[in-house]
Symmetry: C2
Subunit: 456 residues, 2 copies
């Protein structure tokens, strides 16, 4: 990692100095020697003027490669300066799924103009109608479909003819006359087959596939479960429409992990999810965080109501208030731990809704053990602090009960959310902490009233 950062740093310096001394072709050739993924990174580190200069001198294939690696927002910025005919050529050169994503982000008047000038618009047009987060939004139309009577010699001849850029070169899909998917042939089976063998006789008829409307999370789950590098996409009538490739799987997995992590941190991810950190607008960040901060704020005012209810107890024994942050903090922490565990187990499908009782029983046992340990610690810690033993006992007992309570509630709420088809990560750590705060305080004052002679 450090090696690579260093390498990019050095390369960036070389490009800077080539441009400074007006050696444009040197700068270009340094950039083009890199893998497109590295080109994209360098590109983002350049000054805007340098970027515009280099971009305007890239040929069409190089422009297409670079655009495929840039993030959505960066692409839009880059293509602003391209004339329509050149943009059409670049889009022809791009992978159809990437080209469709780009078109999807352009204003609709421009889309019509560009499409009119594209040669391969038929590859891209069918992709424009699908929502981004479905199988249709992920798939490419660059795949090879053959008929069942095709021989392996014919197939190999066909491969020689078609452009070598096809994104899915390792599987050939076999379709019937209605274009319905009926089998798959690996390139390897094709190579070792004798010349007159038909596709039908070497194909695997059990093709794991997804339908075009399948949610991207489900697509990722299927590809991960069955160790698939590619998965074909069919219509509801089982007609072959496209293929989703392994790089899309990686993107989806990363996006889902981002969503889970941000939500668990108490952020509504809506406007931010597919934007890299530096492209997020401050306004969108504030909006997406304020929603939850406000919900949690309102929920947390409940703890104030609880405390007001115990005003006289607080006045009588002011030491009670010293332990409030400790008690609600520990309860919240125990709850966060459980929420993180259960949400991850749900995401990996290790836990299902119907397992709620088993999960609850497991977490209750964990909660009792943790509560016992932390309760004993709390008792001795309070004694060390010099409070009397009844106060220390109240604190220890409350810690034990709050831990158990927090753990058991935090195990059930995400499963309940999952069961009613709400994303369980909405039950974030902060939300659980806030919910447990109020109930923890009620427990605390009830136990105190029971134990402390001053409050009797």
């Amino acid at each position: 990692m450090t090696d690579q950062s260093d390498f990019l740093e050095v390369t960036l310096d070389r490009i800077h100095s080539a441009l400074a001394s007006e050696r444009l072709s040197d700068a270009l050739s340094i950039l083009l020697d890199l893998h497109p993924a590295d080109q994209a990174e360098i590109f983002n580190l350049l000054e805007e003027a340098e970027r515009d200069l280099l971009f305007s001198h890239l040929d069409i294939p190089a422009t297409a490669d670079l655009l495929e690696e840039l993030e959505d927002e960066e692409v839009l910025e880059a293509v602003e300066s391209l004339p329509t005919d050149r943009l059409a050529d670049v889009l022809d050169e791009m992978e159809p799924d990437e080209a469709a994503d780009l078109l999807g982000d352009l204003p609709s008047t421009q889309v019509t103009e560009v499409l009119a000038q594209m040669e391969d618009r038929d590859e891209v047009l069918p992709l424009l109608g699908y929502p981004d987060e479905t199988a249709g939004g992920l798939m490419t139309t660059w795949y090879i479909a053959l008929r069942r009577q095709t021989t392996s010699t014919q197939a190999i001849d066909f491969l020689r003819q078609v452009s070598p850029e096809t994104e899915v070169p390792y599987y050939l899909y076999v379709v019937d006359r209605e274009k319905r998917l009926i089998g798959v042939v690996g390139l390897r089976e094709l190579i070792v087959a004798s010349p007159e063998t038909t596709m039908e006789s070497i194909m695997d008829p059990d093709v794991i596939h997804v339908t075009v409307g399948t949610d991207q999370e489900e697509v990722a789950r299927i590809m991960a479960r069955y160790d698939l590098a590619n998965v074909p996409v069919v219509s509801d009538q089982h007609r072959m429409l496209g293929v989703i490739t392994h790089d899309d799987l990686v993107d989806v997995l990363e996006e889902e992990a981002t969503e889970d992590i941000l939500r668990l941190g108490g952020i509504e991810t809506g406007p931010l999810i597919d934007k890299p950190y530096w492209s997020q607008r401050i306004y969108d960040i504030v909006r997406s965080r304020f929603v939850w901060l406000l919900i949690l704020f309102v929920a947390e005012t409940f703890t104030g109501t609880v405390l007001r209810h115990y005003e006289s107890e607080l006045q009588t024994v002011v030491a009670l208030s010293f332990f409030i942050p400790l008690l609600i903090g520990t309860g919240g922490n125990a709850g966060s731990q459980t929420v993180a565990t259960v949400i991850r187990a749900l995401a990996l499908r290790e836990v299902r809704s119907k397992d709620f009782l088993r999960v609850w029983w497991r977490e209750v046992r964990v909660g009792i053990l943790l509560g016992g340990l932390i309760g004993i610690t709390g008792y001795f810690r309070s004694m060390l602090w010099g409070v009397d033993s009844q106060m220390a006992f109240t604190v220890g007992l409350t810690l034990a009960v709050v831990c158990t309570w927090a753990t058991s509630v935090a195990s059930l709420v995400p499963i309940a959310a999952h069961a009613i088809r709400i994303d369980p990560t909405i039950i974030s750590g902060p939300l659980m902490t806030t919910l447990i705060d109020g109930t923890g305080l009620i427990l605390y004052f009830s136990l105190a009233a029971f134990v402390l002679p001053q409050l009797k």
Copy 2:
């Protein structure tokens, strides 16, 4: 998802009833009709007696397929009943990386015995020495290496000969006489090449590769960055050792996401990370959570010390204590949001250590805006509650300051951890919350002393 759960449910019932009426071969054929990944799921849902019965009747290839799909612990349980010679046969049939993982979990005496009886031990032995979380621990030795003078006809003949189970059938690696990696040929280039073409003339000499000791997270990052379905692994002397396949990438991405999510929830993941929820022992769960609960507990006792320091203020204005949970809760929530954002940006390499000032400045602006909004909300909410306007002003102002403070601290601490090579997820939401609690209270009482006439 629901469809598939239903399908598995129905299949499970069919197997149950076949076994109940002693139709063992029916049960076996129902099981074997499934994809091995589904077999594994069904297998885990069976009663132990049913499982043992079916497992003992699987043939060697079916046993190997099933074991490849089971989790580590389940594999150990399953193979307990296998005699050594049969286990050796099964391991011969398994992919070498999976076989090596299994051997790594067996007691060493058994490993020696089993290896002695294996035919293909040479494929597995080189894999046994590498730590699980490195490139060496992920790679398989089932790959095809050719010399540069090999012609495409010879290569195709070779492909026909070697077992069709090779895990990496889509790339052929070209090595020199020292076995150093010098190029890669896609099956597709091989197919379309004329018969006498040598590997040297069609290979791509720029092979992206990793060295054997590379950390798995870095391997995943490289594969994701360059959209690789496979990556070759070389020794420090650049000798070809193995190949990491896309399914390993998915496993690593899932494992890393699990680790991040659990750590952010305040769990030390050590003993739990590669165990599915139901295989985690209660003892390990309690241990991994208690460590952090205790650290946070000790940190949180600091808030008690702060409160004791303000005992007289609390006695004079008991209403001050009503707002404690609200203030520290909001500060903690704002901190958790920032921590989640920054940690994710670090994980996706969108933010680097040297960006700390830019990140801080961004988050400070977000914090000021959020603080302003929540402070105003807090002021009016307090007025509604009926406290006097000076108290309400104290609460609102503290909320605003705490929010800004929490956001800016929470942006710097994960980057600092990253810079000194500590996993930034160790700065979990709970830890940040706890740290902000104490400092938030000091702010609160300082502002109160300044604003409230009773405390002057």
